[in-house]
Amino acid sequence: MVKDFVRNGDVLSAAALAALGVYVFIEAWPWPYYNDDGPGPAFFPLWYGVIMVVLSLALIGTTIANLPKAETPDWQGISRAMITWGAFAISAVLMNWLGFAISFALLTFFMITYVFHKPPVMAAVVAVAASLGFYLVFPFALSTALPTGVFGF
């Protein structure tokens, strides 16, 4: 019972949102609530901070009242998604040095080979073609700026 409660996603997310509500309240507390010109910058955040905590407690309460048996998460699926997200984040960081074209090609290559288990040759062809396509559509045809790196593109 206690294990199911702790592992329940609703309880965890409600606790996180309650913490956010408390943070909003504490952060907004020193700001003026009301001044000569009318409501101050704390007026709105203080109210929705309190409401966030109340809603979170309500969600925890309803979850306890009707506690379902904790489902075993599909860790394989979650790790696949997290690896994709991590690769996406790393490619964004690399854009500072390598620029959009190379970083995006690397991300595409990684996703096709590692996440979708396709042949590396095919992945390389798609990565180069997609990166080139983006470059032709955005900076070349539409004059839209993309992140550039040490190579100037």
Binding site: G9, D10, S13, A14, L17, L20, V24, E27, W31, P32, Y34, N35, D37, G38, P39, G40, P41, F43, F44, P45, Y48, I51, M52, L55, S56, A58, L59, T62, D74, Q76, G77, I78, R80, A81, T84, W85, F88, A89, A92, M95, N96, F100, F104, L107, T108, M111, I112, V115, F116, K118, V126, A127, A130, F134, F138, L142, T144, A145, L146, P147
Partner: protein, 503 residues
Amino acid sequence: MDVLGGLLHGFSVALQPANLWWCFVGCFLGTVVGILPGLGPAATIALLLPLTFKMDPAGGIIMLAGIYYGAKYGGSTTSILLNIPGESSSVVTCIDGHAMAKNGRAGPALGIAAIASFVAGTVGILLLTVMAPPVAVFALQFSSPEYFALMCLGLALVVLLSGPSLIKGLMALFLGLWLTSIGTDLFSAQARFIFGQSELLGGMDFVVVAIGVFAIAEVLASVDAGDKTHMLPVPKGMRNLLPSWEELKACRFAFLNGSITGFIIGILPGAGAAISSFIAYGIEKAFSKHPEKFGTGVPEGVAAPEGANNADSGGALVPLLTLGIPGGGTTAIMLSALVLWGVRPGPLLMTESPDIFWGLVASMYIGNVVLLILNLPLVPVFAQILRLPVHVLFPIILGISLVGAYGVSGRMFDIGLLIGFGLLGYIMVKLKYPTAPLILGFVLGDAMERALRQSLTMSQGDLSILVRGWISATMLACAVLILLLPLLGRFNKARVQAIAEGG
């Protein structure tokens, strides 16, 4: 000059070869801009504005207006096909439009969006033609309390978008309200929740948040599903790529609803196309014989918001042209363009510059036909995007997302935010939190806070100002009613059961 005489004069201006050409250029550019997330109509008009300085003002405003309403046509394409809303007004189209695409009805969804845009866009212009002066006078009655009530009504629709758990919907809504308050408070210059990051002083852009919680989250959830992820089905044959007669018949009320809701809300400065599309969707669901099917891919769920989104353009031009009050960012840039050409929008525009007022109105009738001709034949072409295998499509979606986020401000910081919101959206999907209320809160929260604070400043803290006027009182009563209905046990049980049956 009466309305008919003015309109005939307008057609004589708009049908001149040069103006027809600028109308086509504007519509085409607008469609392209609408398809590409991050490059919105406001940015495009701002970019092209210097090119129009040497143009004839009538041709210039015809082209800029073409970009404005053309972008709204194009905005539905990526919402339906890739679940990427290019504009805030396209968020609602994602709900049923992308569900239709998943059900193998991408072509009909695009077709319905184009037809709804044409019908509602034309109705919007028709209403602009005949109702501009009297309606503008009514809109002048809207003060801060009325705007606050309007925002409350929009937010109350969270109930209709929440899914089985109302608490989760409300929590997502308040998360959106918090996110929109990040940045500098315009009343007091107080920096709020910026975590020491100067980049957050200007707040976060809608495009970054929406692409993160919709598009990136969709890709991550699909990768999570692994073998269960299949290519979205695209049926063969032109007949299957266009909406059926039954689907169009089912959308009759949605076309009307979108047209009227979009036009009325478009007139109100600051309300914007996003709220009109949300409200049209809410009305459509509330009056539907099968509300449980909304969210699973019903054509009315595409027709109503897309129609409202386009009728809004006609409405937004009412205060711009008759009062000189821009309703949003794009119309504000159009106002500055008119001023730069030496044209003064206002009650005298119709008599002082009939070429511009009536030429623009007439060109919008022509522009809507141009857009329909441009868009319907392209539906099968756009639908082919879904034939791409997922291992090619997903990196491309991530690439478009990166370009969209970077295009907002040219800062790597926005890409960092995009990554964060992508993770947030994925967590919300995994934990079955609805993402639409978060976006609704983010889009409307800022305007709502501003309206409430202005109201209380006007009344020196007296809350009764919010219900003193009949317009605000009626809208607040409707909002409260919508929020209280689920508390009635029987209603909520039926609502939850209906949503569960609808999948």
